[in-house]
């Protein structure tokens, strides 16, 4: 399947300005019936690490919006996904 994540952008509003974020990876979970997206505005945190934001999307919800991920199990899953991507490299 053609991977066109390179072309996807997410807009982030920072200090009244729109910043384009690169989409790094996406995945679904049948357990939560949600989709997840990781994206970055390529900023570096105070600890000199690159910031990656993770949001979820509920396709069954009524609004078209990305939501924060707060559930511990979901966070663990995100970690697993990152590890998997890294290990496959």
């Amino acid at each position: 399947m053609e991977n066109n994540l390179k072309d996807e952008k997410i807009l982030m509003e920072k200090n009244g300005k729109e910043v384009e974020c690169d989409v790094l990876f996406t995945f679904d979970s049948l357990d939560t019936m949600k989709s997840y997206v990781a994206y970055t505005d390529n900023t570096i945190g105070k600890n000199m690490r690159k910031n990656i934001f993770i949001s979820s999307y509920n396709p069954f919800g009524t609004k078209l919006e990305l939501e924060d991920v707060t559930d511990k199990k979901e966070l663990e899953m995100i970690n697993d996904v990152l590890l998997k991507i890294d290990q496959e490299n």
């Binding site: 390179k6 679904d28 019936m33 690490r49 690159k50 993770i54 707060t70 199990k73 998997k84």
Partner: protein, 1074 residues
Amino acid sequence: MDNIIFEEEIVTEVVYEGSIPLDNRLTPRQQKRKIFNLLKKENIPVIKESEYEITFEQPDDDQSIKFKVTHIYNKKIPYRITKEEVYQGTYILDGIRMTPEDQRQQVFNLMREDGFVIENEDDYEIGYEGVEDNNGISDTQVTRFIVSKIKKEKLTDKEYEAISNDQNKEIKNLYDEMVALREEILKTTEKEKVTELSSKVSEVTEKVDTIIENRIQNYGYFEEKINEYNVKISELEASLQEYINSYEESYEMMKELMNSSEITDVQEKEHQKERINEKSLSIKKEIEKAKKEISSLKAQRTRLMKDYETAKALEISAEDYNEIISSLRKKDILNAILEQKGLEEVLSTSSKDRTPYQKQQIKEAKEEIIKELAKLKKEDERQSVLSSIEALYGIELQKVIKNGRERVIVINKKSYDNIINNSKKLPEKIIKNPDITINYKPGDVPEDLQEVFKSEERKDNKDKFTIFHDEEDEEKLYTRKPVFEKFHINPIGEEVRIEGTASYGIKKEDADYIENNANNSESPYVVEHKKAKVVQVDHSPIEEFVEVDNNTSKEPLEENNVQERKDLKDKYVIYHSEENNDLLYATVPVFERFNITPEGEEVRIKGIASYGIKKEDVDDIEKNASNDYSPYIVEHETVKVEKQVIEPLKDIVEENQEVPKEEEIHENISNASKGLIDRITIYREMNQSNKFYARKPVFERFNVETIGEPFRISGVLCYEIDVDDVKKIAANSNNDYSPYIVSYEDVQASREILEKEPDVMEKIRVEQEPTKNHLEASNIEVNPEFKEELKEKKVNYNIIHKCPYQVKAAVDFFDRLSKKLLSSEESKSQKEQFKENLNDLTDEELDLLVTEYRSDAFGSELNSYTKGLAYNRLKEYGYDTIHKINDMIKEETVSLSSLIKGLKEVEEKEQTEQDEDNIISLEEERNDKIGKASSSIQVIIDAKKELERLLNCHIRDLEEKFKEKAQELEFTKSRDNDSLVDSLKYQVENFTRSLKNALINHNDISIVQNFLGLESCYDEDFDHRGDIVGRRSIGTIYFPLLEKFLPVNKNNELKEMMEEETHDYGEEEKSKVR
């Protein structure tokens, strides 16, 4: 042999050409470093960086710059030198003195005259034969010269190797020759011969030296090794440089952030931190030591308090009490008394194996003994406790002590052998029975036999017992508790602290006794005397210790930490009755936590159900709270104890009502006036008047516990309820402001018993549904650039799961995100299965879901998708239920209006009817209609309550939807309670109160009257100007419910009816209302 010479030549070799990105921030040095790193990456060996020259070209663009790396080095090149004689001649040196150079030119001139072509004079060598004068050539001498042409040829690799081999062979030959010559010299005795041979050796040696000097060496191996080292050194230098650079960068960054004095401050702070940490550690040790002391003091204090209380209760002095306790502390004495009291069997069981009952028996017996001894002591203070024991229990104490049970000490075989071997050294009395077990008799010197035999080999390791002398009064002796235990002697006085450890007074004779036994070589112990400061234990009240007790943390460094620990401890409060301080109470958690059985009936303390607790139980709880590591603390509080008297059903109704606050009363009335009076149904077993059942919500509402397994009564899920709980619920129901009324229903004993409460969620849950602990991800799609970045492992990441900014994505991106998820087969099958499960739910189960599974349950049990489906199903059910309720109310209201109309007609007929039989018949008809109207009203009230329950289901969004839907219904059009004028509010309260009474008393006519009255209050068109009992002379009487369903507008008739019926209120009710 060819003459070989080596000449050094400068070699210039371009080793790399490339380009690097332009970066003005880099210093030339950093650039060079970058290029060398690049060469390293490209596997181009750099042996000596100083031999490399980097040249840059002009940049092509703004992005990069080209460069060239040239290796410049010296190389030894071998040349073969050959000589060829090309000319010879003589001449008479008859001219002036010539320099060698002039002489050389003279020769070349001669050669040219002979037709020689000389291209390069340097290629020729001229040798002179005959006289040669370094100071010049004489005027008369003839000299001969030979001119040779020198040829210098660079050797090929093969030639180089061949020559090298020849040289080696030659060296070997010369070496052999030399060895032979040396042997010959050794054999020769003739001096001359030796001189000749020596001269030959010198020649050979000279030849060897010449060859070696000109030898072509194979440097390859060494060069390779040197290169390796050079590479390693170069690498290390490079990484060192990186560190230096990184350090310098960090330092520069730090300088940007801080000035030099701040940097010094930071460094100083670091040092300080280390010093503070060391200090903290030592303080920590001190704190721990202090804590141990506090803990020990607290335990002692608790003991003393207990003793004090007991002594007080026994009406004897503390000294007398101590004497009794000290005597009973001697196990043999206590056991002898307990045996006298018939507890031999209990005593024969080891204390570990005793049952709780046996322990209780001993405890009670001990208390009894103390009481008995205290009584005797009270009667005659001068009599000692020991003589009282002898007198009271007929025990000869001397005998008891002498004939105490033998203590068996098991020792290993080696020790036993030692005993036998060393028996001569031992005091005879110890060895009584040379068996594996050694007898020990109480009263004898309690030496530890194993220790005795070890004493020989460990003189310096003997147990050391210290006798402390009070530094203020040396006659006062003290020692530690283990000494008393070891030597079976009693301490005197109260506990004191010596060097922070609990100690007790010891009698002089006891101290001497211990010391005497230490004075032999076999003694396992030594006695030491020491002067010490004796600190008396403080017996101050508990409060003074509270703060300290709370600091019993194992990590006491920081105050916060201490505070945290304090908060972490469970607190249990023991309540003392105001009236009698000895009556102790505690709340249920205390009994549950310590597995104690409460005593007596329930009482109320600060409105909380509490029970009596035994003093000994309190003591036990406190005892365990008095150490450092106890997870709880105990506090005491004197409070007012309210007795909770459980009276028979009817009698308690008035007395035990809990009077709610005014606002609560109003709220209850407000609800009740909307027809929302809760009707609590208690099912009563048909033939057993003390067996009751109720629905689950009743238990939850009144926070009472269910009994046994669930079962269904007429399809309704019920549990058995305790008769006392029924009484309590009923007690609070029958008042004006109670939000509920209780009704009883007799049921048959036969019912369907369920093993467990039905779990609706389990029924609808789909396999692989989301209760799993580990969530699975699928359809992972990765941006190749991110993949690459991960692969390079150059970047570390922060994962932020709560984005602090507002984010947006294109609609098609959302589509793309959800497409795979929505179209997956698994998702589809789950969806179908879940839908099926939802459709299979009965109304009862749906009702349970709506009313008992709050939104939280949905949140954790269902995922967003299934939650959506469940939401839809519940919405469907809710709408359906609202319609059903609407229909039901509508039907009942129509029936009610018809009944009221009929009622009016009957009453009219009654007024004109003369015939008594007919009057009776009409009266019966009237009563029948009133009964039916009352039933309809009760159905309407229940239906409204049902609706209210649905409208307050607490399922987010759904609740709002239900409320919205209910607005569309016909019966909801009524005036809001808040919008009522005060006089009307007052009426509403009165009607509500009367309606409740009527419902409780099953007074049908009153139910009808008050219901109609209440309904009229909510009519917007109704203008009340009459008095409170409804003499409404002005305005339109309007029944919001009735008006809708009456076949004709009967307002006037109803008005009249209301006027008449409200007269039936009765005088009592009226006066109450007024």
